[in-house]
C-alpha cells in the first residue's frame, strides 16, 4: 500500500496499521479467512433468496428468529433469582403497593376525620 505517514496530531487508524496486514500470525490469518468465508456464504444465501424471481415469502432471518424466541418464549427457563433482580422485583413490585397504600389511607383518613368533625372545606360545588 501507499506509504502513509502518521499525521503529527492524529494517530493512525487501526485499519491503516501495517501490523494489521503484514505481521499477522498464520493462525490468526486462517481464522480471519474462515470467518470471511462464512460471511460470504451468508451473503450469497441472502442474495440468492433476494433475487429469486419465484420467491413470494419474506426472507427468514435466523438471527431474528432466535432473538425473538429468546425474548418472548425463553424468559422463565433462563431466569434465576439473584439478589439484584430480587431487589428490583421488591422495589418495583411490592414496595410501591405498600407505599401507595399508606399514602392513600392516610389521606383518606385525614379527610374522613375532617368530615366527621365538620370542618371540611368544599370550595367548589362538584359532583364526583
Amino acid at each position: 500500500m501507499a506509504d502513509y505517514r502518521d499525521a503529527p496530531l492524529a494517530s493512525r487508524p487501526k485499519t491503516l496499521d501495517p501490523a494489521e496486514y503484514f505481521a499477522v500470525s498464520p493462525a490468526k490469518r486462517k481464522a480471519e479467512e474462515e470467518r470471511a468465508a462464512i460471511r460470504a456464504q451468508l451473503k450469497r444465501q441472502f442474495q440468492l433468496q433476494l433475487n429469486d424471481p419465484r420467491r413470494v415469502t419474506t426472507i427468514e432471518d435466523p438471527a431474528l428468529t432466535r432473538w425473538t424466541y429468546a425474548r418472548v418464549s425463553n424468559v422463565y427457563p433462563t431466569f434465576r433469582p439473584t439478589p439484584k433482580n430480587s431487589l428490583l422485583g421488591a422495589v418495583c413490585g411490592i414496595a410501591p403497593l405498600l407505599f401507595w397504600y399508606f399514602v392513600f389511607k392516610t389521606d383518606r383518613d385525614r379527610k374522613e376525620k375532617l368530615i366527621q368533625e365538620g370542618t371540611i372545606e368544599r370550595p367548589f360545588q362538584l359532583s364526583s
Binding site: T68, V72, W100, F104
Partner: protein, 460 residues
C-alpha cells in the same frame, strides 16, 4: 331482546346450510342485520331504567352499550377471519363460524341477564368457545399453554363467585338484579363476610384483568387468531367490568376499606404494564398489555363507586373495546402478510401501504386517548373522580397517561415510519375488506364523540 336472540340462534342453521360460495357474504350480512337491530335497544323509555319484557332478560343503560358493542363486533370478526380461514375445508370454516356465533349468543344472554346466576352461567359458558378458538386455531405451539392459563385463571377466580352467589341467594331469597338494587346493605363485619366480599369480586377482577392476576391476558391475546383476539379484547374483558359494576352495588359498606389493595394494584398496574409495553418484541403482546393498562383505569374507577367514575368506566370500556379491536385487526393485516408479529420485522409500512398507515394513525391516536374521542372522555372522567377520591392518585394516573402516549407513539413509529426492512420485498396490497373492517371499527368511535349519551350509563 327476542329480536336479537332469534336471528342470532338462526345464524347456526345459516352457517351450515349456505352454499360455500356465499358462506362468508351471508354470515356477514346477517350479522350486520342483527347489529343494526341491536341499535334499537338504545331507546330507553322506562323510568326505572330497566327495559324488559320478561323477568329474565332485560337491558338497562349499563348493559345496552355493551350489548350493542357485542352485536356490532360479530360482523367485524367474520370479516376479519375471512382471509386466514379460507384455505381450510368448508366444514372447518363452518365450525369456526359456529364457535363465533355461539360465543355471541352467550355474550348477548350474559349482558341481557337480569338474574345474577344467569349472568354467572353465561360468564362461564363464554370460556368454552373462546378456549376452542384459541387452542385449535391459534398459530404457535404456545397456544396450548395460553389456553390453559386462560381457562384456569378465570375458573379459579369464578368458583368462589359461585359459592358467594349461593350464599347471597340463601340470604336474600332472590338473585334478580331488579330486586337486589333495593335490598338493605348487609353489615359486613365478620371475617367470613370479608371473604364473601372478595369472592364476589375476584372473578371479575381476574377477567378485567387486575394487574396482579393479568398473566393470562398477554398469552391468550397473542396466541388467539384475530377473531379470538378481537372478541377477547373488546367484549370479554368488559364482561368482567360489567359484572363488577352489578355486584359492587350491593357490597357496600365494606368496600370502603376492603377495596384499597385492589385500587392500588389497579393504579400501579397502569404504570407497570404501560412500561412493559415499551419493551415488547411482539406487536400483539404490546396491544395486549395496553389493554391491561386501560382496564386498570376502569377497575380503579369501578372500585371507588362514585357516579362519575362509573360513567367514565363505561365510556372507557366501550371506546377501548373498539380501539383495541381495531389495533388487533391492524396487527393481523401485518401478520397475514409477513407471518410474523415481531415489531422489528415490519417497519416503514407507511411507504408500502399508505392507506393502512392512515388507519394505523387513527387507531393509535384513539389508543392514546386523543381528544375529542371517547377514549379521552372516559379516561378524563375516571381521573377526575379518582382525584376527588384522593388527590395523590393524579401522580399515578398522570404518569400512566404519559406512558400510554409514549407506547402508542412507539407502536406507530416502529410499524409505520423508518426504513423499510430489506427482508420484505413482496407485500400484497391492502384488501378492500381490510379497509372496510377498519372503517367499521373507527367510524363508530368518531360518531360516539358526537352522542356520548348513548354510553353514559345510568349515573349521569
Amino acid at each position: 331482546m327476542l329480536k336479537i336472540l332469534i336471528p342470532t340462534l338462526m345464524l347456526f342453521p345459516t352457517t351450515w346450510i349456505t352454499t360455500p360460495k356465499w358462506l362468508w357474504t351471508t354470515m356477514t350480512a346477517q350479522a350486520l342485520a342483527i347489529a343494526t337491530a341491536s341499535l334499537t335497544l338504545l331507546n330507553w323509555d322506562s323510568e326505572t331504567g330497566w327495559t324488559s319484557t320478561n323477568p329474565y332478560l332485560g337491558t338497562d343503560p349499563l348493559s345496552t352499550p355493551l350489548l350493542v358493542l357485542t352485536c356490532w363486533l360479530l360482523p367485524l370478526m367474520i370479516l376479519a377471519s375471512q382471509n386466514h380461514i379460507s384455505p381450510e375445508p368448508i366444514n372447518r370454516q363452518r365450525t369456526y363460524i359456529t364457535l363465533l356465533v355461539s360465543l355471541q349468543l352467550f355474550l348477548i344472554m350474559a349482558f341481557g341477564a337480569t338474574e345474577i346466576i344467569l349472568f354467572y352461567i353465561m360468564f362461564e359458558t363464554t370460556l368454552i368457545p373462546t378456549l376452542i378458538i384459541i387452542t385449535r386455531w391459534g398459530n404457535q405451539t404456545e397456544r396450548l399453554n395460553a389456553g390453559t392459563y386462560f381457562l384456569f385463571y378465570t375458573l379459579a377466580g369464578s368458583l368462589p363467585l359461585l359459592v358467594a352467589l349461593l350464599i347471597l341467594q340463601k340470604e336474600m331469597g332472590s338473585l334478580s338484579m331488579l330486586i337486589i338494587q333495593y335490598m338493605q346493605p348487609a353489615p359486613l363485619c365478620t371475617w367470613a363476610d370479608k371473604i364473601w366480599w372478595a369472592a364476589c369480586l375476584i372473578a371479575f377482577l381476574v377477567k378485567m384483568p387486575l394487574y396482579g392476576v393479568h398473566l393470562w391476558l398477554p398469552k391468550a391475546h397473542v396466541e388467539a387468531p384475530v377473531a379470538g383476539s378481537m372478541v377477547l379484547a373488546a367484549v370479554l374483558l368488559k364482561l368482567g367490568g360489567y359484572g363488577m359494576m352489578r355486584m359492587i352495588i350491593m357490597l357496600e359498606p365494606a368496600s370502603k376499606n376492603l377495596a384499597y389493595p385492589f385500587i392500588i394494584l389497579a393504579l400501579w398496574g397502569i404504570i407497570m404494564t404501560g412500561s412493559i409495553c415499551l419493551r415488547q418484541t411482539d406487536l400483539k403482546s404490546l396491544i395486549a398489555y395496553s389493554s391491561v393498562s386501560h382496564m386498570g383505569l376502569v377497575v380503579a374507577g369501578i372500585l371507588i363507586q362514585t357516579p362519575w367514575s362509573f360513567t367514565g368506566a363505561i365510556i372507557l370500556m366501550i371506546a377501548h373495546g373498539l380501539a383495541s379491536s381495531a389495533l388487533f385487526c391492524l396487527a393481523n393485516t401485518n401478520y397475514e402478510r409477513l407471518h410474523s408479529r415481531t415489531l422489528l420485522l415490519a417497519r416503514g409500512m407507511q411507504a408500502i401501504l399508505p392507506l393502512m398507515a392512515a388507519w394505523w394513525f387513527i387507531a393509535n391516536l384513539a389508543n392514546l386517548a386523543l381528544p375529542p374521542l371517547p377514549n379521552l372522555m372516559g379516561e378524563l372522567i375516571i381521573i377526575t373522580s379518582m382525584f376527588n377520591w384522593s388527590s395523590w392518585t393524579i401522580i399515578l394516573t398522570g404518569t400512566g397517561t404519559l406512558i400510554t402516549a409514549s407506547y402508542s407513539l412507539y407502536m406507530y413509529l416502529m410499524t409505520q415510519r423508518g426504513p423499510v426492512t430489506t427482508l420484505i420485498t413482496a407485500i400484497e396490497p391492502s384488501h378492500t375488506r381490510e379497509h372496510l373492517l377498519m372503517a367499521l371499527h373507527l367510524i363508530p368511535i368518531i360518531m360516539l364523540t358526537l352522542k356520548p349519551e348513548l354510553m353514559w350509563g345510568w349515573c349521569f
